[in-house]
Amino acid sequence: MSIVDTSAGRRRPSIRRSLLAAAQGLALALLSIGVSLALFILSVVSIALIVTGVGVFTTPVVLSWVRMHANQRRLLASQWSGVAIPPPYRPLPRDMRPGVTGVVERLIFLLKDPATWRDILWLLVDAVAGFVTALFPPAMIAYGVEGLLMMLGLWRVMGDGYWYGFIRVEGFVSGVQCALLGAALLATAMWVNPYLVKAHFLIARSLIAPTRGAQLARRVERLYETRHDAVDSSAAELRRIERDLHDGAQARLVAMGMSLGTIEALIEKDPAKAKELLAQARSSSAEALTELRDLVRGIHPPVLAERGLGDAAKALALRMQIPVEVDVELPGRFEEPVESAAYFAISEVLTNAAKHSGASMVWLDIHHSRSAGDMLRIAVTDNGRGGASLDKGTGMRGIERRLGSLDGVLAVSSPPDGPTMVTMEIPCEIVVAGPTGS
């Protein structure tokens, strides 16, 4: 979890930002005292009513509202203050039974998820501490403005006995004092308002972000899934290789051996026929070689072994039917599984772009970044018609799985009319430093 500083960064204080924070604070305060409190009461009542049976049906609904509400706050946190709060919820099991049994199942699942209870606790904290922190920014501005107005004549209206802060409003002199205090408040608001909004989100984060336990549980689940996929796909791959060898090179070698046997028998009786068979045997061996070469390319491309990912990608780009502009910035070589997964992912994405996008140009960008942990980043962009998605064809899902076993991710952005951009990220370290030859 990291806090990405975007809006509430170390920039100069500005009136605009301070006012914006005040408006955000006001909105958050309303959400906290209104929605959070209401949902807290609803949840408690609904859970209490489970005993009577009614709660069984209301609770899942109320809890889904709670989650929507919490998710909205997570979204605002990242948009307004750059505070990242990942959702902690366990994914719902897919095979829920229908009817009443399903509802009960769902209820039990929700109640077993610790995130549910933390959400409810947060509702209460949000309605108190969250409300107060959120209210500060607009209140300071409003109170500061009131102080200025005091000087401008409001002191006449308020009359004796009104306290502005620690100042008793009695006349113009005290009005000026009020204005000074108001100005001081406004100046303070300029500095602290964005930080107060951020503080509000940090309070929320302490409760509605995944706990360490939840994070680990999720990680274990993900590892279990990806390991399963990896084992599955490598078994399928081995099966494919076996079949290719069996039907291809192996069969050709058998045919060649047979031809050679016949040639041995014929060489004295019928030299012309023997010669013909020899030519056949030679072409069989050439075909066997071609097949083996294709097979090897599919297992581990020779350029990748010889030159590493950068040059292998360049070689791949040269094989494409459409022009591919390659931009590689890699300080060295990666572990073989990473290079191999990245290579095949690039190959699949480029092939898709060439086949389906109708693009006239593709840009391939490969670089390694150290900013947020060592990360290999690959972006493939084309100027085609767009509308690509992960679910069209099995290829992309296969890539996703393969990258997944390395903790890598794949994202596709492809609006109708394009352009399509496929980005991949694989966490990895450089194992051999030095340029990969270019």
């Binding site: 030679r282 061996s285 050439a286 070689l289 071609t290 070469r293 090897v296 390319r297 020779p302 350029v303 072994a305 010889e306 030159r307 040059d311 360049k314 070689a315 040269l318 094989r319 494409m320 039917q321 022009p323």
Partner: protein
């Protein structure tokens, strides 16, 4: 003609030595690793080197790197590179210095002994021998290009063979046409692709390859 040969698999190396000796090449050295190849190329000054891309100790593209290095030290040193797979990337690197005397062939091509020996001789005399697979990849990529689309089917055939480095006589023999016809086709090709005409065979081949590899 003195040959330095680098191939790490004993059977293939032995076979190549026998084949080259049968065609009256003199084997100056037959080595099985990169460092020895570098030394042999520097010390023995062969007329041509036949080199496998992948060699010990690193089993990466050691052979290719040695060959490129030797050509940097002695520009135009004829080198024929053999590989289990061909890559345009490698072909481009070999052709980059524009000096000629370069060959790049699949290992399968040794099956056709005559043609292989012809390729070795061609490279030794400063010509070019590019694997048909490389040329086909280049051609298929450029098939949609405007100037290329203007070529007739026959002209494309001639261009393909020319890009492989074949002489006019060899092209004529393969396509069953006269050498005069080949010469006419080549001048048409150069006209349509707007390449500067040249009488020198090697220059012409390099010009065509450079054209195909552009962009």
């Amino acid at each position: 003609m003195r040959v330095v040969l680098a191939e790490d698999l004993f059977l293939l190396r032995d076979g190549l030595v026998r084949m080259l000796e049968a065609y009256e090449f003199e084997i100056a050295a037959a080595v099985d690793n990169g460092p020895e190849l570098t030394r042999a190329l520097a010390e023995l000054q062969p007329d041509v080197a036949v080199v496998d891309v992948r060699l010990p100790p690193s089993f990466s593209d050691e052979g290719l790197q040695c060959a490129l290095e030797a050509r940097r030290n002695r520009p135009g040193l004829p080198v024929l590179v053999l590989s289990q797979h061909v890559e345009q990337l490698y072909a481009r690197e070999l052709l980059a210095d524009g000096n000629g005397g370069v060959g790049y062939l699949l290992k399968d091509r040794v099956f056709d002994v005559e043609q292989f020996i012809d390729a070795v001789r061609r490279v030794a005399s400063g010509g070019t021998a590019m694997d048909p697979q490389v040329i086909q990849q280049l051609l298929s990529r450029r098939a949609q290009d405007k100037p290329m689309a203007n070529l007739t089917a026959r002209e494309k055939e001639v261009m393909e063979l020319m890009a492989q480095g074949r002489s006019n006589a060899a092209i004529a023999a393969q396509l069953f046409i006269t050498e005069r016809a080949v010469a006419k086709h080549t001048s048409n090709i150069f006209g349509k692709l707007r390449l500067p005409p040249s009488d020198d065979d090697n220059r012409r081949v390099l010009a065509v390859l450079a054209y195909l590899d552009r962009g």
